[in-house]
């Protein structure tokens, strides 16, 4: 019987399985994950879960009995140690081998480590998996002073939760503004003021030099000599794609597993999807790597289509979101290469949207507390992004009418 094997039981891995079955594949499927939990949602880890509002059971994508019904062999707490592309096998940590007809790599990403002295102290936390989140949640219960290293999405979401829990919070960012790589300066300013308004102290242009442990504090030292004592430190400085298995198997990698618009790796019978891929999307000229739910789900559907020899190319508009305090940021498109901005509304609590334009096209939109504008923006960008900037900026014009 035909057997397809998926390495990685995250959002992309599960979506590949579901799509294979939905498209009628009736052979064997093995889904292999190195975490103990059945596939679960990661976004709430830095939001509701960290705040203690939902349990781990509520993070699960599917009830446990679902996997039996789907006819999937779900192998948890199982690490794959090698792929043999010529023999069509994978080797598991305990030594056994699994044969496959098609293989999918949904190996995800892992946190980038802070390479300074003291970074291995147990008071240093990261946030990627549910076990990280649980350790951090328990750590926050014991802490009064929290230092967050990194002013990106994870760092700022954790800062917001720590403030909600009543803790003293400082954020240390190496660049000159928060969210430096992903949003326009005016959006960075909005989030900076949002956090300082909630009592967070943000230190910009500060490189961490060392974490100095003592009995009653872990002190963050920056390169200019600033010292910040903490009870708990959270490091959120980005992720690295898990490419080791692919590289060892001789698959092309370039800061990500290289795949084409059909999610095919350099081996014709191995696909890859999700955070681990450097991929082609027909909507963009250059390949890129994205860490998002949207990419995991949509690229996984492409990967499944390729595994079933009915390939459908990847051509989906990316979208992202972040929740901080009572503010919801929703982003659509990729703003890289924009040459002008249109702001709709006034940056503030009532919400606004920022349109990133390249020439006469809107290529990305950030919406703050404007979910309906975000949904309209998705359609606008999918339709090519042509739009009169004066009407975009006019809040009396319903965005939905611009699409008709």
């Amino acid at each position: 019987m035909t057997r397809h094997v998926i390495i990685g039981a995250g959002q992309a891995g599960l979506q590949i399985v579901e799509s294979l079955r939905k498209e009628g594949f009736s052979g064997e499927i093995a889904l292999i994950g190195d975490e103990a939990s059945a596939p679960y949602q990661r976004p709430p880890l830095s939001k509701k879960y960290l705040l203690g509002q939902i349990t781990a059971e509520r993070l699960l994508f599917r009830a446990p009995e679902h996997y039996g019904r789907l006819g999937v062999e779900l192998r948890l707490s199982t690490r794959v140690t090698a792929i043999d592309p010529a023999a069509h096998t994978v080797t598991l940590a305990e030594g056994s081998q699994l044969e496959w007809d098609r293989l999918a790599l949904a190996t995800g990403a892992r946190v980038r480590k802070l390479g300074v002295p003291g970074a291995e102290d147990p008071r240093v936390h990261v946030l990627r998996g549910v076990e990280d989140a649980e350790a951090l949640r328990q750590g926050l219960e014991q802490a009064a002073r929290v230092v967050v290293i990194g002013g990106g999405f994870i760092g700022l979401e954790v800062a917001a939760i720590a403030r909600k829990l009543g803790l003293e919070v400082k954020v240390v960012e190496a660049q000159s503004r928060v969210l430096p790589r992903v949003v326009a300066p005016l959006v960075s300013t909005f989030f900076h003021e949002l956090h300082t308004g909630h009592g967070v102290r943000i230190l910009l242009d500060q490189q961490v030099a060392a974490l100095v442990p003592s009995a009653d504090a872990l002190t963050v030292q920056t390169q200019d000599g600033t010292v910040i004592p903490a009870d708990l430190v959270v490091v959120g400085i980005g992720v690295l794609p898990n490419t080791e298995l692919a590289e060892a198997a001789g698959l092309a990698c370039d800061a990500g597993i290289v795949v084409d618009e059909f999610a095919r790796t350099s081996h014709p019978h191995i696909v890859s999807a999700g955070d681990c891929t450097r991929h082609r999307n027909l909507l963009f000229a250059a390949p890129h790597r994205l860490e998002s739910v949207q990419n995991a789900v949509d690229q996984a559907k492409v990967a499944a289509s390729t595994m079933l020899d009915a390939p459908v190319p990847y051509a989906q508009v990316p979208w992202f979101w972040s929740d901080q305090y009572d503010v919801k940021l929703q982003m659509v498109g990729i703003s890289t290469g924009h040459d002008s901005l249109v702001v709709r509304g006034v940056p503030g609590p009532d919400g606004f949207s920022v349109f990133y334009r390249s020439g006469d096209r809107v290529i990305a939109v950030d919406s703050i507390n404007k979910p309906a504008e975000h949904m309209a923006a998705r359609k606008l960008i999918a339709a090519g992004g042509q739009c009169d900037p004066e009407r975009l900026a006019d809040t009396s014009t319903d965005l939905k009418t611009l699409l008709q």
Partner: protein
């Protein structure tokens, strides 16, 4: 646990027990109700967990907040008077027997 009846566009009925305090969307997704997409995972951010509430039950639900009202204008199948986003509806014992109809599509 409150039981909820999901009616698919073709008329098929499926009864699911959903834990008290969970949202209608969470229960549906964990039990693989394919007609609920819930792209944003329950953040009232995407309008892909749209359902129609059996009119007999409509008055037993809390009214939608402003964000849900806005998003109900963005559903793939146009909203009706009994439209709600299932991620915003928490199950309580009083909702035992709730009947909801699923739309043809969510995106």
């Amino acid at each position: 646990m409150p039981k909820v009846v999901f009616v698919s566009p073709g008329g098929a009925r499926r009864e699911l027990a959903i834990a008290d305090g969970w949202t209608l969307m969470e229960g549906a997704v964990q039990h693989n109700v394919q007609e609920i997409a819930a792209e944003c995972g329950g953040g009232c951010a995407c309008a892909t967990c749209h359902v129609f509430i059996d009119p007999a039950w409509l008055s037993k639900l809390p009214a939608p907040a402003a964000a849900e009202q806005d998003l109900l204008d963005c559903t793939a199948v146009p909203r009706q008077e009994n439209s709600r986003l299932s991620c915003q509806l928490k199950l309580t014992p009083e909702l035992d027997g709730l009947v909801v109809m699923l739309p043809e599509r969510q995106t």
